[in-house]
């Protein structure tokens, strides 16, 4: 009998403390600075084009084979790269968000963005093309291999849009 009472006392104690539950879609949890959401392509603001040079290392290193890309000869002449991407697809339905593509990139051209609310009704819409990947990469800075920023990173999506 004492053991059962101990359990009831414990639940009573918890009843009087603050709940740990978060009302998720309304109340967003803080994301850590290293949080790995969907992979994204980075935009070089200085020359107004993507950083990527279509070297294919990310696609070859991907454990899930979810990256497909094709390159084009680079003719704009703003930087000294030889190729630039024509198409870049990531199948986020296959992606395991491991971050290896970011780690192996020799040109710092991609980063894991904090976007994680990717659910859709159609599987085909999970195949993100170049423009979508650049779009989710806006405001994301290259973190891997750089000195650590201080403090947690707040979610970059406005919580009010989810109410």
């Amino acid at each position: 009998m004492r053991g059962v009472l101990g359990g009831f006392l414990q639940t009573l104690k918890s009843f009087l403390t603050k709940p740990v539950t978060r009302l998720y879609p309304y109340e967003k949890p803080p994301l850590e600075a290293r949080f790995m959401g969907a992979p994204s392509l980075l935009w070089d603001d200085a020359v107004d084009e993507v950083v990527c040079v279509a070297c294919n290392i990310c696609a070859r290193s991907c454990p899930d084979d979810c990256i497909t890309l094709t390159g084009d000869k680079y003719t704009a002449g703003k930087t000294n790269k030889k190729n630039i991407i024509k198409d870049y697809f990531i199948d986020l339905g296959r992606c395991s968000y491991c971050g290896i593509c970011v780690e192996v990139c020799p040109f710092d051209a991609n980063e894991m963005s904090p976007h994680f609310e990717l659910s859709t009704y159609d599987r085909m819409t999970l195949i993100y093309d170049k423009d979508q990947l650049i779009e989710i990469g806006r405001g994301v800075t290259r973190r891997t291999g750089k000195p650590e920023p201080v403090g947690p990173l707040p979610g970059i999506l406005d919580p009010s849009t989810y109410r």
């Binding site: 101990g6 414990q10 850590e32 454990p63 650590e148």
Partner: protein
Amino acid sequence: MAIAPSIDMLREPAPSVAEERNLETVEMTINMGPQHPSTHGVFRMVLTLEGERVKNVQSHIGYLHRGAEKLGESGDLEGYRKAMITLDRTDYLSSLLNEHAYVMAVEKLAGISVPERAEYIRVILGEITRINSHCMFYGAFGADSGATTPFMYAFALREEIQQLFEAVGGARMFPNYYRAGGLREDVPHDFVRRVQTIIDRALYAFDDFDNLITTNEIFLSRTRGLGIIDQTRALDLGVSGPLLRATGLPYDVRRSEPYSIYDRFAFDVPVGTTGDCYERYLIRQEEMRQSVRIIDQALKDLPGGPTMGNAPKALRPPKGEAYVRIENSRGDFGVYLVSDGKSSAPYRVKYRSPCFVNLQSLNDMVIGTYIADAVVALGSIDIVLGEVDR
């Protein structure tokens, strides 16, 4: 006045229903799983019942087979990193412990040394993973034996731990954080403070866990004396981890064959005497406290310096093979790697998963018990089907 039979009395080997009442009984076969919540995944048991008693049990595994070993052997670039992605997803509750085994195997194969700081961080995160996994056991085992509240308590602590994993490795369950030669990157600047907060909270949480069910009479009568396996049988079956230690054998790979830097820490290996479900529960509770002890010592000695050793950028180990084993939260986990010396992916990957071996003891535990106790006995093995089926 008739005395209602206690649950302990009912558990004594009763004469079979047919003999007692002189009735003709028909054996019934029922199918439990693969979509049953208390089979911990997609495990399927075909139980042959005589009345309420289990006469035979046949286990069917393989519903979650994803070919993790074969996928680990593929790869054009970075093959040694790719294997870890699938390894993380085999035993999804102790991913960092398994990563530790895998990177140690790669390091042994390629002759890479690891900096002190990386070793300490691996031990700290590994022991936190063990707490995380045993919390899951605590919650699920409570639910199996009829108490739903422990699940919430366990997950409150798990949430904090997974938040730490997110801060360290970027993902809550599959951090993919260890690399051959060290770590992917150094831990965040507030790592020591956060780990300290977690272990302080964890010690309070363990007391709460104890208050809830450890001395609860219903829980005791559900678990004590159930699923007994003696030491010789356990050794014959090859079980390891808390199942083996509950039979009284203090076998722990961290102690018997110290790997990494486990020989520097003082910790006890809790053992049981009878080897029943309740002792397996108690041993896991005590192991969580011992893990906190190890983390405490490791945090005090945590050195500075680099976290990545002399690992080459493109890993191509010489021809050879390596086997490394560690004490997983479920038992003796081993990784066997073969390199052909030419490619950048392992030629062969083999995981020795403790769950698969421990699950073989199910027949010994379950036959002769009531069907409701079969669920508790299965829960006490603490299987993860991802690791059984790989």
